[in-house]
Amino acid sequence: MRGLGKSLALVVLVGVLLGGLWNIVIPSQVGAAEPYKIGAVFSITGVGSFLGEPEKKTAEMIAEEVNKKGGINGHPLELVVYDDESDTTKCNLAVKKLIKKDEVPVIVGPTRSGETLAVVSVVEEAHVPLISCATSYKIVTPIESRQWVFKVAASDAHVVAKLFDYMKAKGWTKIAIMTDSTGYGASAREEFLRLAPESGITILADERFGPQDTDLTPQLTKIRSTQPQAIVNWSVGPTQIIAVKNWRDLGMDSIPLFQSHGFGSKKNLELAGKAAEGVMLALARVNVGPILPDGQPQKKAILDYTKAYEDRFKEPISSFGGHASDAMNLAIAALQAVGPDPAKIRDYLEKTTKFVGMHGIFNFSPQDHNGLSKDDLEMVVVKNGDWALATW
């Protein structure tokens, strides 16, 4: 028995070490011409998996399509994807691995702001361009120390500005905000508080709650007592459904409710059901392809992506997959134009303008590594359990 135990322990140990060797020995796939590489880091598992999973699927789908069409200038495209497990340390290591082991000339991702900020110094040091799929404005500011970093997701400031424009158009200037204590909620809260004074908006109540909270009645009751003209809820996960239901149950539906763009998935509409009627949000066009007016420059690209993704994966598209699509297509366009040279790719990205993507028409510049504006968003209202363009 004793001997058995010892050998079992040894087998496990040897297994683990062999697992390590496995990674080393397996050669990368060899194509006809020298393949062009794109590195990708997504939060495929962990708490960010609902973001990273569609991103990974989209990136792989696009890489396959490119290879089916003969690659980039005759070079097959090799996509190297690592999972950061929604962990900053792992993300840091994954990006270093992409740079050192895989020697990729351009990196797509990471999924979330925290992981992205944890690798900014790595890519700046290594001089490899990175196209993040995360939102935080800190990813591309200050631009002097973000020379190699780009991002394709709209900043919270854009979304907040869009909401403020709409509110002012409707004459709602006294509002209440409620945000969750995740990076997503906290970063938007900063923007609300920062932009409100200069936009002529007064924030009467500023309520916060935890991402695991199961009841938001206290926050809403407190908000009601300040008599705002509109309420904004900013959270991810179940709390955005709970906010809608509590708002309805408390009979507060005479005060319009706005949600973050995180609410922009069909699944949330199903979960919230009838309670969500009339809820408004600023959404990227990728989420509302079918209802865009004909002739809108992004419409065709969005419908093509929507069809390809939904046919293949049998699940609705999300804005997150859209980020991965934009990042991949930018990287591919750069590879096509200048080849696998990190410095040239960086310069090409910085000069890219009028690039029609899922989340808007990108206009990058040496001062702006995001390239989007509030005009790339649409105000959307929930109508009959579906999205409809809001009337201004």
């Binding site: 010892k6 322990a9 290591l93 702001s113 995740t182």
Partner: protein, 326 residues
């Protein structure tokens, strides 16, 4: 320290010293240096934890919190007040020491695993504070653009430089801990671990010694936190939650609790397992960890280091090992 201990010490130092030059020429493993930098940072924590668990017989579930205290003290003082990173390192360590002392005094006067309970709660509190004190910590969105360490005006940004810095710190700490363990204090600690009542009867101030070791473990974790901060140059609360405390404990247990070499071995191994070799498990990481822990606890109660010491052929070790595993 005996001649054999010195031999192992110098041998390991040599191995760590040449490691970067061994892996650097091979592209497929060149990034192992980066993993080893984190392994070194984590080893600082696990050495302290090994002293606490293996020698003082106490469990702390708050090492990630002390890690966070060191990290955030460095982060806040260098970004908000523009202080020199080297100067603030001792501040974080001092803060962690004070906190650990306050926490340890009541908890360690009691027998049994009260420290585990107290630190479990404390770890959660620290995590909440890091997430909620947005004005100071940046909250969940974190704190970016923390300056790197500099030596004589040169920024330490290359992995190799940081690798040697971190591992030099590890060996200094190891040396210090070996000296402590081979002193009167060390013998007293071992006595506490074997049988607290007997130790007390011999006149060992058990409560005071346990608090001191706990404070040492917190200080080492805070030091690791400062190194982490200036290496990654970004902080968010996710790196300092309960899961990390459990990971640190696991590193110590896998390597072998009652040996500082075990802590080193376990940490390096588990850092590679978690970041490189067992990535496929991803969401099931905690299950994989559980399985590893179970195998180790059942068949290698003295950790992997016992396999190695056995391999070195000191026959006398065998019977005691067998007793442990039956």
């Amino acid at each position: 320290m005996s001649r054999k201990d010195w031999g192992i010490f110098l041998g390991t130092m040599l191995l760590i010293g040449v490691f970067p030059w061994l892996v650097k020429p091979f592209k497929a493993v060149s990034h192992y240096i980066d993993i080893m930098v984190f392994a070194g940072i984590f080893t600082l924590i696990s050495i302290g934890l090994s002293m606490l668990m293996g020698y003082a017989g106490q469990i702390s579930m708050a090492q990630a919190a002390f890690f966070g205290i060191g990290a955030y003290t460095s982060g806040i003082l260098t970004t908000r007040f523009g202080l020199n990173p080297w100067l603030v390192m001792p501040v974080g360590m001092l803060l962690a020491a004070v906190v650990a002392w306050l926490l340890g005094i009541p908890a360690l006067r009691l027998k049994g695993h009260y420290l585990a309970m107290a630190t479990l709660g404390f770890g959660v509190i620290v995590h909440i504070v890091l997430s909620e004190e947005v004005n100071w910590t940046g909250g969940p969105s974190g704190m970016a653009d923390i300056p790197s360490l500099t030596i004589a005006g040169t920024r330490l940004t290359s992995e190799i430089a940081y690798y040697y810095l971190v591992w030099a710190a590890v060996f200094l700490v190891l040396l210090f801990c070996f000296l402590v363990l081979h002193s009167r204090v060390g013998r007293a600690l071992r006595a506490i671990h074997e049988e607290q009542t007997a130790a007390e009867a011999m006149g060992v101030p058990t409560a005071r010694l346990k608090v001191q070791v706990f404070v040492l473990s917190a200080v080492l974790a805070a030091l690791a936190g400062s190194f982490y901060t200036h290496y990654v140059t970004f902080l968010n609360p996710g790196s300092f939650n309960l899961m990390w405390s459990i990971r640190f404990m696991l590193m110590v247990m896998v390597g072998g609790m009652q040996s500082l070499w075990g802590a080193l071995l376990g940490t390096v191994l588990m850092t590679f397992v978690g970041n490189e070799w067992l990535q496929v498990f991803a969401d099931f990481e905690i299950l994989a960890y559980g399985a590893i822990l179970l195998v180790v606890a059942l068949f290698l109660p003295r950790g992997l280091v016992s396999l190695i010491s056995q391999g070195f052929g000191s026959r006398k070790v065998r019977p005691s090992l067998a007793d442990g595993s039956s």
